[in-house]
């Protein structure tokens, strides 16, 4: 079992959600996060003074997946989240030891 974590642009959330649903994903956790990568920040100007905004708004999507589905799902996210411009985000995959469905107590791959 794996945990796929994707950091994407907020504006691409709907596209990614739709693509994942089409790929058979039924559950995900989405949160609003701030961060910085190679894109750096941007500059805002108030009364002539420049304010560098170094942390940008991003969206984090977390999905639990069976090991054999991981590569396909990552590809789905890359395709649907990409705009081709800098700041599109990042995806990483980590191993998961155990998953439990709270309602039924099922565990392992059945709980995904």
């Amino acid at each position: 079992m794996k945990l796929i974590t994707a950091i994407i642009k907020p504006g691409k959330l709907d596209d990614v959600k739709a693509a994942l649903r089409e790929a058979g994903v039924t559950g995900m956790t989405v949160s609003e996060v701030s961060g910085v990568g190679r894109q750096g920040g941007h500059v805002e100007v108030y009364r002539g003074s420049e304010y560098p905004i170094d942390l940008l708004q991003k969206v984090r999507i977390e999905i639990l997946a069976k090991k054999e589905n991981v590569d396909a799902l990552v590809e789905v996210i890359v395709k649907s989240a990409s705009t081709g411009s800098i700041g599109d985000g990042k995806i990483w995959v980590t191993p998961v030891e155990q998953v439990v469905r709270v309602r039924t107590g099922e565990n392992g791959e059945n709980a995904i």
Binding site: E44, Y46, R47, G48
Partner: protein, 432 residues
């Protein structure tokens, strides 16, 4: 002697104008409140709101008499009296001549000016003032600075027959300030600079971004100020007459021109015309036309507005050069705008526009009027700056004016008022 009867049209206009000018102070609360960070938005607004309370009470007890009483026959202050205005109920306003409006309508109208002037100062000390200290400051400041200065500028004396007693120093010298470029804006601007020096810079100033937390609120505030300003300027005619009409139009066109002036500077300098710039430009233009609105032609009001908008847009950067944290640009907008407005009369003033005014340089009047205007600017600037410095340091050394560092970091909304401006129902706040 003929009995002057109350003119209902004039009286109605002054009554309405009083309400319009009052609205400017809550408007200012929104204008300033949107410009600070979310953690001190309520405190910023409360500084304006509590000023309404404090000055209203003091005005009845002794404030009006100190500014507009004539019994002492002094150019520097009105009269010292604790009459509570009980003796004024049936009187007509007399300010360099009798007006056919009740004295108490005049007193109410002038009260609103006394309220907004100290409220304007609060923008210079955003995020870091003790609320109690601010309240004490307001009470002392209006007593020692605003009430006397209002007497210098706005009190034209009690006229009985041909004798005038108790006219203010600047008013008697013919310094032209129709609605308060000196008494209100230069006064507040100079005081703002003094308090910014007394309280010092905010933690992280110039290092961490202190972005306005809500530009829509700023715009709402600027709009309310603009609306109320028609009462401020056109109401100062104290009648529903031609001068009021002139002041009304000049107020509108100067504000519009200044909006354009400010965002034009931004477009050229920074590449983007901003919302904050548009709101600031409106206020800068309104400030600049305030003293001049009844003395210049409408085309001149456009020029004054453009100059004020452009100049103030450049002036707000000066605080970084000189290193004083005038947080919301009270100096850059109100002081600079006020000076531009007062001096502009020396150039654009026209006796053809207003027979009570003198001709400025462009109308062949020479330097005489500009000299008078400069006298008003200099006198009010120095008096306000140094006295405010004194009052500010006295409060800082005794009860303390500035909050502790940890309170400033947490935010003064929480530490001074036990409230927060925005409760979005997050799980950690017990909102669900």
């Amino acid at each position: 002697m003929d009995q002057i009867v109350i003119n209902t049209g004039d009286t109605a206009w002054v009554l309405v104008s009083s309400a319009l000018v009052l609205l400017m102070t809550p408007g200012l609360a929104f204008f300033y409140g949107g410009m600070v960070r979310a953690k001190s938005a309520l405190n910023m607004m409360m500084m304006s709101m509590v000023t309404i309370g404090i000055v209203s009470v003091l005005w009845v007890i002794y404030g009006f008499k100190l500014a507009f009483g004539y019994e002492a026959n002094s150019p520097w202050y009105g009269s010292i009296s604790l009459s509570g205005l009980g003796d004024a109920v049936n009187a007509l306003a007399n300010n360099g001549g009798e007006y056919p409006i009740p004295l108490l309508a005049f007193a109410t109208f002038q009260l609103m000016f006394a309220i907004i002037t100290p409220a304007l100062i609060s923008g210079a000390i955003a995020d870091r003032a003790r609320f109690v200290a601010w309240g004490i400051f307001v009470a002392i400041w209006v007593t020692l600075v605003y009430f006397p200065v209002a007497h210098w500028v706005f009190a034209f004396g009690n006229k009985v027959g041909d004798t005038i007693t108790g006219a203010g120093f600047l008013a008697a010298r013919g310094v032209e300030d129709f609605a308060g470029g000196t008494a209100v804006h230069i006064n507040a601007g100079a005081a703002g600079l003094a308090l910014a020096i007394v309280l010092g810079k905010r933690i992280g100033w110039q290092r961490s971004p202190m972005r306005p937390h809500s530009l829509p609120l700023v715009l709402l505030g600027a709009s309310l100020l603009w609306f109320g300003w028609f009462g401020f300027n056109a109401g100062s005619a104290l009648g529903a007459n031609a001068i009021a009409g002139l002041a009304l139009l000049n107020t509108q066109v100067a504000a519009g021109a200044a909006l354009l002036g400010w965002i034009l500077v931004e477009k050229i300098r920074d590449g983007h015309p901003t919302t904050l710039g548009a709101a600031s430009g409106v206020v800068a233009g309104l400030v600049a036309i305030t003293p001049a609105c009844a003395f210049v032609a409408p085309w001149a009001a456009v020029v004054i507005g453009l100059i004020a908008g452009g100049f103030c847009a450049l002036a707000v950067g000066l605080k970084y050069r000189f290193g004083f944290d005038d947080s919301l640009d009270v100096v850059g907008v109100h002081f600079v705008g006020g000076v531009i407005g007062c001096l502009s009369i020396g150039f654009f003033g026209s006796s053809a526009v207003n027979s009570l005014g003198l001709d400025g340089i462009f109308y062949g009047g020479g330097l005489a009027l500009l000299g008078k205007q400069a006298l008003g600017v200099v006198l009010v600037t120095f008096y306000s700056f140094f006295l405010t410095l004194l009052i500010g340091f006295a409060i800082e050394k005794t009860i303390g004016f500035r909050v502790k560092n940890d309170a400033e970091l947490v935010g003064v909304d929480q530490t001074e008022h036990a409230e927060s401006a925005y409760e979005m129902g997050g799980i950690l706040k017990g909102g669900r």
